[in-house]
Symmetry: C2
């Protein structure tokens, strides 16, 4: 398998301008990539990883079959790019929908979860994929931390801040808690998408469960 796609020092996620070292990708190239990723997203969510083929993706994207391989080495890499993209989107979604500075731990947790739930509602199935434990798909070391790991760490940072304010129990390891919280969100997200229950109810219950876990 030969790697035909762009040089690895190109930021393969957003293809932003990297002053001086690599020329900016053309609009054309960006557009092709965008279309491929959009098609990939739809198919991964609809059919799952197993049932999605590179040829399906390129066809749905309206590009030549070989074009897929100019952008991604294989299906896995395309999947990882999709997950990364979704992760970034959630971040931006959160920034856009940030309403006010939380006064309490409960408000803080509730607000973050609301963002996640609202994003999920608008993009069914996307977060489930983005938060995938990549280890099941592939076991080799990844070039960068995966979205789920980064989120766990971010939650860990949040816990550390709340702990500094005395809102979270002092004996809790923030990073550990970050992972625990991520696990909760992941599973409840999956369960909530299936169960006969409302988003609001799940949101309240999950907030409650998380608060309990974090406090004495």
């Amino acid at each position: 398998m030969t790697n035909n796609h762009a040089p690895d020092d190109t930021d393969t996620t957003t293809l932003t301008i990297d002053e001086g070292s690599v020329p900016a990708p053309s609009k054309r190239r960006l557009e092709s990539r965008r279309r491929i990723l959009a098609a990939a997203r739809q198919l991964f969510v609809e059919r799952g990883y197993h049932g999605t083929r590179p040829q399906d993706i390129s066809k749905a994207a309206g590009v030549g079959h070989g074009t897929f391989y100019l952008h991604f080495a294989d299906k896995l890499e395309c999947f990882l790019a999709f997950a990364e993209e979704a992760s970034k989107e959630l971040e931006m979604f959160g920034e856009q929908h940030h309403t006010h500075e939380a006064q309490t731990l409960k408000e803080g947790v509730h607000e973050i979860l609301s963002v996640i739930f609202n994003y999920s509602e608008e993009n069914p199935g996307v977060l489930a994929a983005a938060m995938t434990d990549i280890n099941v798909l592939a076991t080799e070391e990844m070039d960068m931390p995966m979205p789920d790991q980064r989120w766990a760490e971010q939650w860990g940072d949040n816990v550390k801040e709340w702990q500094a304010k005395g809102e979270v129990a002092a004996d809790i390891d923030p990073l550990f808690a970050g992972h625990v919280l991520l696990g909760m969100i992941r599973q409840v997200g999956s369960y909530g998408a299936r169960a006969e229950t409302t988003k609001e109810e799940v949101l309240e219950k999950l907030t409650q469960a998380m608060i309990r876990m974090l406090t004495d």
Copy 2:
């Protein structure tokens, strides 16, 4: 794709004797299947789903390439069988290592987690696969509940019992909590396999986190 493998009414997991309706599979057939599943397990754990091919599995199993398809329709079905097998193993492992009736909620949780952690130590990577959210691989309805769903429900049953004894907060929805607990275990299992920390430490922290989540 034609389905060449045994009639669907055969229990494809353990191929137990089904009195009267289907003849028992021969030793030879059981042995082939066992070897395929053993090879599949090793490869799925080593390489992940993406990097494992049916031809790799049949080769590692020491059976003909076509034999794979006599037992499983495709890679996904083989993976699901592996996950199911691992799930059953954990159950049996738990039964064999059940030491005593828990006196407190903490002991109960600690004991169940010990079983899970001990099994994981003896079978690295297997539980991660067995507890996979199958939805990422495939989105169609499965014929039976997946291992992760069943575990969540089992934890839900445990929570209900503990609740009846007044050990778990009365306002907690047992099934919801079951899913939350599963999510915690899953993520912490993944984190613990990677982090520079001891099994005992992770076990203690997770027990603590779970108790907090379940109590006032």
